[in-house]
Assembly symmetry: C2
Homo-oligomer: 326 residues x 2
């Protein structure tokens, strides 16, 4: 079977045009964000929006809930859409909602989004106190039902504790190494060694704030960073999680950053003079550009098998291990 | 394969004891009510309670969502629990919640519970105006996703219109013929002919207010009524839907009757002098008594094959046809 092409994070302003670009780019599966700050009831409205897209475009996309759906996508020339939360807000203060969300098809949940949550500490807080009492219980419940712990926006200590506490491998679906670009959102070598050493997966982001030289980052720089990461952590634990926010208005990056938790603007990874979505690098504008990343990786010392793994095969293996109840 | 034993309606105060009684009675599948007047968010809390029961008693029960789960229940000596609503209140005013509820495992939804709803008219209203504008759209959506229309508590005209509008057979999961006992909740010969003539199913209730002579109804009378119904409508369209409310306090029958729609008590099928749950007939107290109904039916002119169908085989066929998306 042909190696699949999988993107472990997108939050585009989805449309038929983007679904067609997924097909044009040969993208077999995409993990899409369906909640930033939504409570449970609001998140359900986002599910309804996706149900309408699935009903309207059955020739392009369908809802993915298992690794087998990636193969089904390949067999039927469609893209399987997997759901995730960037924040645990949809489970509110109720551990029973973990299983309900899994039953609704959610397959990834971040324990924090930048800020302190009920479960753990986000990467923008001054102090990281690790997993909370509820956080430890929720990780256990996520392990039981097959909801993947994602620590992309969490602080260092919380991330290390989640890796340690989780009985199943976890994911950082979209981030880059701090040693390549020292952004708060990028992760330390320590974190990546712990993550990959326990079977976890890392998805490399092409969101400019996570890139060396931002929007001007070259494909060569990005690919040589991945080559270096493969040497440090093993190519089998690496994938792509573009964090593609295509076609979103700047009001959405504001929602992502402040939700309802602040009355004043917080610029997050941006700044007052660079408040909106940054322009994407010229070699990755949309789903049709996945082949460019693949070609770039093939120019490195990575083997073709390693490159196919990074482009999707490794995520597929992780989906096989992560999504079913224990 | 042995014929299954299926109950198409229970709203007991569920407990390990009752689950053990299901096993003792050889009941392979039960359709349980998980909402009377709950809105969507409240209904989810009821799902969570069931998830806790499934986790605590995996040797006795599991969540059923397809006809294959009835066979799995037989193969593993457990009872498959299927979910339904007695009222469309959990979908609120949002047709998108029909598919969400199906994805959460709901397989039956009544369009009304005694009163006028957003979808249709209940059997206690003075005038029945049939399906509403939203009601017609929701029936179509229920047909599409595989959520069975149940008209047990609906008025005559609404029921006939639902049968007519639905592209798939519908159900009356728990009611008896008006010609046997003239209760408002029992259905006319016209309704049953239209229901069964379109492939629909009728589940006979043993709730005393639906029985000739109430709690004093004899097993012989109940079984000869079924025999007569088989002659009129065909045995293949008949099943059992006990409406068992075992171990419920009388506060629950009050909730069923008035929910939050009235500040004064409404006695429904009861009366001021008979306000609580009526005592069950002595031949049907709990799930262990299913064999008595079977034995009673075998005393009639019905063939053994017809009796096995009524005890569960007919519901199984209906589940096979009704629960999958179109």
């Amino acid at each position: 079977m042909k190696a699949p092409r999988i993107d472990s994070l997108q939050y585009a302003n989805f449309s038929e045009e983007i679904f067609r670009q997924m097909r044009a780019g040969g993208v077999d599966a995409v993990h899409v964000t369906i909640a930033y700050h939504e409570n449970f009831r609001e998140m359900v409205l986002n599910l309804e929006q996706w149900n309408r897209w699935f009903e309207a475009h059955p020739d392009l996309i369908f809802k993915g809930t298992s690794a087998a759906d990636v193969r089904r996508a390949q067999d039927t020339n469609r893209t399987a859409i997997f759901f995730g939360f960037q924040n645990p807000s949809p489970i509110e203060d109720d551990i029973g909602l973990v299983e309900i969300c899994h039953q609704l098809g959610i397959r990834f949940m971040q324990l924090t989004y930048n800020n302190q949550s009920l479960l753990a500490t986000g990467c923008y807080e001054a102090e990281d106190t690790g997993l909370t009492r509820m956080g430890r219980q929720v990780v256990r419940e996520m392990n039981r039902v097959g909801l993947v712990v994602d620590m992309s926006h969490s602080g260092e200590r919380s991330t290390l504790e989640a890796i340690d506490q989780s009985s199943r491998p976890i994911a950082i679906t979209h981030a880059n190494p701090h040693w390549w670009h020292a952004a708060l959102r990028n992760k330390s070598d320590t974190v990546f060694r712990a993550l990959t050493g326990s079977g976890g997966m890392l998805g490399f982001s092409v969101y400019p704030h996570h890139l060396q030289d931002g929007s001007a980052c070259t494909l060569e720089s990005f690919c040589s960073m991945i080559e270096e990461a493969a040497g440090r952590y093993g190519a089998a634990h690496l994938g792509i999680g573009t964090d593609l926010c295509q076609d979103q208005p700047d009001s959405v990056v504001e929602w992502m950053r402040v939700g309802r938790w602040s009355k004043v603007i917080d610029y997050g990874e941006g700044s007052a003079s660079n408040a909106g979505f940054p322009p994407m690098p010229d070699w990755f504008k949309d789903n049709r550009d996945f082949g460019r990343i693949r070609n770039g990786l093939l120019q490195t010392s990575l083997t073709q098998a390693e490159v196919e793994g990074i482009m999707g095969g490794n995520w597929l293996r992780f989906f096989e291990e992560g999504f079913e109840p224990l």
